[in-house]
């Protein structure tokens, strides 16, 4: 099984190695990204790709941190600003990226400040139920670990967003009264 690439889904490599399942289903790999000054990690399995930021098309009657829609190779994705969603400041930096991940209802692009690395955390390295204060609500935390001396809060992005995060009826005329 050749390992001469850092990319998580390097199809060419996988095909050559002949055992694609083992690589793809490695549940201990996490993608580390930043929100503000905090480092977060999310299971790599749920991550589809990382993109350069695009200009989303805004949609009326959606929540403030739902920035709109983008078109990626013919597929329409919603864009959520994770920074404002979890109360961080939101600025566009050169390192700002769109993290596309799968949720139960389809893929979503999340705006994060920086995508840092793919790191493998063994079970032993992950502290479950950490007593840390995080801006991400406790229910979504998988645990915590550390990477290069910094605390990494592990969350499962796929579960952190719910329907209420998207729709917000701001116009009185749309509230369906009986």
């Amino acid at each position: 099984m050749s390992q001469n690439s850092n990319k998580p889904f390097d199809t060419a490599n996988d095909l050559q190695s002949g055992t694609p399942e083992i690589e793809a289903h490695d549940e201990s790999k996490y993608l580390i990204f930043r929100l503000g000054s905090e480092a977060y990690g999310t299971p790599l399995l749920g991550v589809r790709e990382v993109l350069q930021p695009l200009k989303p098309k805004p949609i009326p009657n959606t929540a403030p941190h739902f920035k709109g829609l983008i078109n990626i190779r013919g597929q329409i994705l919603g864009v959520v600003d994770l920074r404002t969603r979890f109360d961080y400041a939101a600025q566009m930096e050169p390192s700002t990226a769109y993290l596309v991940f799968e949720t139960e209802t389809g893929p979503i692009a999340a705006i994060v400040d920086k995508v840092e690395a793919v790191v493998k955390f063994e079970e032993s390295q992950v502290h479950k139920k950490p007593n840390i204060r995080s801006q991400v609500p406790v229910e979504f935390l998988i645990g915590a670990s550390s990477h290069q001396g910094q605390l990494v809060t592990l969350i499962d992005l796929n579960r952190t967003l719910s329907k209420e995060d998207y729709v917000q009826i701001q116009k009185a005329k749309l509230a369906s009264t009986g």
């Binding site: 009326p60 389809g106 005329k173 749309l174």
Partner: protein
């Protein structure tokens, strides 16, 4: 542990068995009305195949059950007397059991429910059949169908409630079983056990928790397509290659002849369009599959309620878009249940009233110039406007003393909050009201209408756009954003400048169009953004404005789209501009966006930008609710004479 390859083969096996079970169900439903020997033979062969396939994969328990099923079939074949409804009930119950078993296997490949109760029932029935056909009346009106069967029919819907909810339904249904089963059919306590057994098969391992994900959504992911269409597609692709080859050759030889290139590109365009159209039709499936689901549900329910119902299905060959079928199934099942549960009276009552027994339930579908019309009609008791009005007043949905037309009263049933738990029986839904049905239909871009005569029956008519995929769209600018309004929803594009705008009531505006008073609403009040940029700022638009000739650029804001509010009333939606008209591909909204008010889909514009597609039905609904918000029973509406 199975390898990935084995898992794939296993899934394919389950798909195949499911398809065969579907066919078996169809044949069982036919048993009561056609050449029984032939049908029994076909069913037997199908079951035999299923048994063989399952045993090949080591599903021995499953195979053993199918074997018992085969035994019943053989006994029926050998019995001289015709197959009774009671036997069909049992066959269908067994089929449901097997179907749920397959569902369970999708989640856990070692799933094996307790088959003892079902086997006992099968065995008992076989013995009775062998003992003497004389003890089983030919058409057993008093026989109750296995309540479990009707409950399980619902569970196969991909969007069904959790199995635990259905299981509750099943047990209450069993408790309600009338205590006069026909001779030869399992008595009440066995009924309950049967119900529990099938419910057991439903409560597969991952039941109560999260949706088991991808494996269960098979029907959503796979399509059956005709190989002829594949051939046609290959042919078109071949032609595309040829034209592309010509261009490439030109390029290589540096002999770019403009005319040749133009021809080649034009032909490529044509091929692409043909290819596109062809692939779109792949999504069309005959309504037959949908009909079968509904027929089964209706039959089981009628049997359970001991009502004799003749179910007519017309238009089974009508092709429907796959997504339409998926999304319309639940609403239709709900309507059918309403018809049988609430609409159709029981046999005794009907006879007293001089109404024919069996009752009639007709489900019809046909195409009509860009639309698909589906109607469900029964000859039951019909909708009683008086009762509906009383109920609506009691629920505070309408002011007492409100005077309303019958048609409007009937539409009250679509208001949320109209049917509540005390009214809705366990059969007709778990508190799911007609408002959910209407919403589901609106999400498909359609509408639902009722017509009914008290004492004679009710018809629900659902009108849907024929294809979800491509529609003619009007690109409009609202609050400086481009969005699409389906062309077929717009009755007329109105230049407000050429009409006298009257002010009606408190600040509402209206125009008089050929005698009809049409209120004007700003579309941006529904789907616009609050921060308006200055009027002269124009966003990304290289399209020429199609605003009517006599309006000047600074009057570009006086265009309105006239849409239909109801049969006789209209609404004019004011937009910033109408930019163009073009064909657009409709993509459904992702689940998390499905509730965004005012929209029914999204598309990608020529410049690659996504654009929302407006739901004019929804806007109309919201408008009506808005103007009636303080006085829900008010009848003063534009366009109606006093």
């Amino acid at each position: 542990m199975r390898s990935a390859n084995e898992k794939k083969m296993f899934d394919l096996l389950l798909d195949e068995i499911e398809d065969t079970l579907h066919d078996i169900e169809q044949r069982c439903l036919k048993l009561e009305s056609s050449d029984q020997n032939k049908e029994l033979q076909i069913i037997f062969r199908a079951a035999h195949n299923v048994k063989g396939a399952s045993q090949l994969y080591g599903l021995n328990d499953f195979g053993a059950f199918v074997h018992a099923f085969e035994d019943l079939l053989t006994t029926l074949q050998k019995t001289a007397s015709p197959v009774t409804a009671a036997s069909v009930d049992l066959l269908l119950a067994a089929q449901s059991f097997l179907r749920n078993w397959i569902q369970g296997l999708r989640e856990q490949d070692s799933f094996s429910p307790d088959q003892s109760v079902m086997r006992a029932a099968l065995k008992k029935h076989i013995e009775e059949l062998k003992a003497g056909a004389g003890s089983i009346p030919a058409a057993a009106p008093a026989a109750t169908s296995t309540p479990a069967a009707s409950a399980t029919a619902t569970s196969t819907s991909p969007t069904a409630g959790t199995p635990s909810a259905v299981a509750t339904t099943t047990s209450t249904a069993a408790a309600e079983t009338h205590s006069k089963p026909a001779a030869g059919f399992p008595p009440a306590d066995i009924q309950q056990q049967l119900a529990a057994a099938v419910a057991d098969a439903l409560t597969s391992p991952a039941a109560s928790s999260s949706p088991s994900g991808k494996r269960n959504r098979r029907s959503a992911a796979n399509l059956r397509i005709s190989s002829q269409k594949i051939d046609e597609i290959m042919q078109l692709i071949g032609e595309l290659s040829i034209h592309q080859g010509i261009l490439w050759h030109n390029y290589q030889q540096n002999t770019f002849n403009l005319l040749t290139c133009k021809n080649a590109v034009t032909l490529i365009q044509k091929n692409l369009k043909d290819l596109y159209d062809l692939v779109l039709t792949l999504r069309m499936q005959p309504a037959e599959g949908l009909f079968q689901r509904i027929e089964r549900t209706a039959r089981d329910l009628a049997r359970e309620q001991q009502k004799k119902v003749n179910i007519q299905l017309i238009g089974a060959e009508t092709p429907l878009d796959k997504t339409v079928i998926e999304l319309i199934t639940d609403p239709m099942i709900h309507l059918v249940r309403n018809a049988i549960d609430h609409g159709i009276e029981d046999d005794e009552t009907r006879l007293k009233l001089g109404k024919p027994v069996p009752a009639r339930l007709a489900i019809q579908t046909h195409h009509e110039s860009g639309y698909v019309v589906i109607s469900i009609s029964d000859d039951g008791r019909g909708l009683d406007p008086q009762m509906i009005l009383e109920k609506a007043v009691k629920k505070g949905l309408v002011l007492p003393g409100a005077k309303m037309k019958d048609e409007d009263i009937r539409n009250l049933i679509f208001l949320p909050g109209f049917s509540t738990r005390d009214q809705v029986t366990h059969i007709s839904g778990r508190g799911v009201g007609m408002d959910i049905v209407q919403k589901a239909i609106e999400q498909l871009g359609g509408r639902i209408e009722t017509s009914s005569k008290k004492g004679q029956g009710t018809t629900f008519q659902i009108t849907l756009p024929a294809s979800l995929e491509i529609i003619e769209g009007l690109m409009v600018r609202v609050s400086d954003q481009l969005m699409i309004v389906p062309r077929q929803d717009v009755i007329e594009i109105v230049d407000l400048n050429s009409y006298e705008v009257d002010t009606v009531g408190q600040g509402s505006r209206a125009i008089n169009v050929r005698g009809m008073v049409v209120p004007i609403e700003d579309l941006s009040d529904y789907v616009g953004f609050d921060s308006r940029t200055s009027r002269t700022q124009v966003t990304a638009s290289s399209h020429a404005d199609l605003s009517p000739a006599n309006s000047k650029s600074d009057n570009a804001h006086d265009i309105a789209l006239m849409i239909r509010l109801s049969d006789r009333t209209r609404l004019a939606l004011k937009v910033d501009a109408v930019v163009s008209q073009q064909q657009i591909v409709v993509r459904p909204l992702a689940d998390h966006l499905a509730d965004v008010p005012g929209f029914t889909g999204v598309t990608i514009l020529g410049n690659g930008e996504p654009a929302m597609i407006l739901s004019t039905t929804e806007i109309g609904e919201k408008y009506l609710r808005w103007i009636h918000r303080d006085s829900p029973g008010k009848t003063e509406r534009y366009g109606e004479t006093a």
